[in-house]
Symmetry: C2
Subunit: 239 residues, 2 copies
């Protein structure tokens, strides 16, 4: 079993995110939580500190108050996705959009500042994506490797932090709930990989961005399809 203060924190986070405690409402006092969770006040305090640092509550002498979800930290995304067995498809779609936009930004910066050697190194990563005879898992690995490469090469720390944070929260959901149903359309990916290759070769920033726009749509389609399949699977298992 994991750490107790973490259990308490997760329970509180869940309660807040699920709406059991509305924004502006007062959270139970530390001493109340002590009895509810049968824990020591130190553990409860650490849990409260965690909740507070997530931006979900504001703790002051006199009591802790719940904050609006919009004022929270980016780290709540993972908790939101894990709230139910199947993640919120709208949220997934939004995450994909943001990630893609940021990777596109990174790629643009790489294209504008990199040497030819660095660019040809990047193009190497596109090779596996042009093939149609690799497995689904190899395909996603190749996509992730490409993303990671752009992020690192961008040398933009905020960009790296955001993407890694988003991705780390998105990944567990994707691999647990949806991995079995995510079948990438390798042919279309191959087409876009070729276009990306051309854009890199000719240093055409506009083409690069268009390509990422298309990839965004494709990624989201793939995810949507995987979600619907997973949902049907779940309903079949339940019914």
């Amino acid at each position: 079993m994991t750490v107790k203060s973490e259990q308490i924190a997760n329970a509180l986070i869940r309660d807040i995110l699920v709406g059991r405690y509305q924004a502006g409402e007062r959270l139970p006092s530390e001493r109340d939580l002590v009895s509810r969770f049968d824990a020591n006040r130190g553990a409860v305090r650490e849990a409260m500190a965690k909740v507070a640092q997530l931006g979900l509550a504001q703790v002051q002498p006199g009591g802790a108050r719940v904050c609006e979800r919009e004022r929270a930290s980016l780290d709540i995304i993972g908790h939101l996705l894990a709230q139910s067995e199947l993640p919120d498809p709208l949220l997934l779609d939004q995450i994909l959009t943001v990630i893609n936009s940021l990777v596109s930004l990174a790629a643009t910066q790489v294209l504008e500042h990199s040497t030819n050697d660095a660019i040809s190194e990047t193009r190497q990563l596109l090779v596996p994506l042009m093939r149609l005879d690799i497995s689904d898992s190899e395909h996603s690995e190749a996509r992730f490797a490409l993303m990671k490469h752009f992020m690192q090469a961008s040398e933009n720390l905020p960009l790296q932090l955001i993407c890694r944070t988003l991705f780390e929260q998105f990944a567990p959901t994707a691999s647990n709930a949806l991995a079995d149903f995510a079948a990438p359309d390798k042919e279309r990916y191959a087409v876009y990989a070729c276009r990306l290759d051309d854009a890199l070769l000719s240093k055409d920033v506009a083409a690069l961005r268009r390509c990422f726009g298309a990839l965004d749509a494709l990624n989201r389609e793939t995810m949507t399809r995987a979600f619907m399949l997973a949902q049907h699977g779940q309903e079949a298992a339940a019914g």
Copy 2:
């Protein structure tokens, strides 16, 4: 005087960010920190928990180890900016780029999904930016209001969280160290505001994105100029 656990946390964060503790190194034990900061172990633990949640350290039974900066939370940006009297200009530039890219994404989504009414409401926010006779502070307020509007209208939670987090960490630096030197080129802003207005009116996504690209460059120029002026002022004060 602020909370003690927070003081300890900030001191530790600063030490890590400044490189006093290298990545992979072991942090002092909680009991050592107790004597160093003349505090209770509970307070030290809360500080360590905060550092750990920032992703700057990984704490396990046996000891806490420092993590690489790239694996940290987005919330370290504020600490990085506040590290010295004048913020790192490269980091500022990167932050501006990311924010602009995200606002551009938000605006794109708004343009694609909004009704005509909502768009004309957006256009109202452009009016003050087309004027040349408003004060610098009113000008920045108008820019921020526009940004905020796009973010809210996008209804994309991750996007909102990222932008708010970035902005809240960027704002104090901007208003403390640079505000006195930030003189926006209102004429150019007015030109871009007009173009943005046209793009919104004609629902031209490509023009919208071009416009945000130009605004990004302008924002960064403004910030760079403010930074150099602030630097000169600081040197003059010192010498």
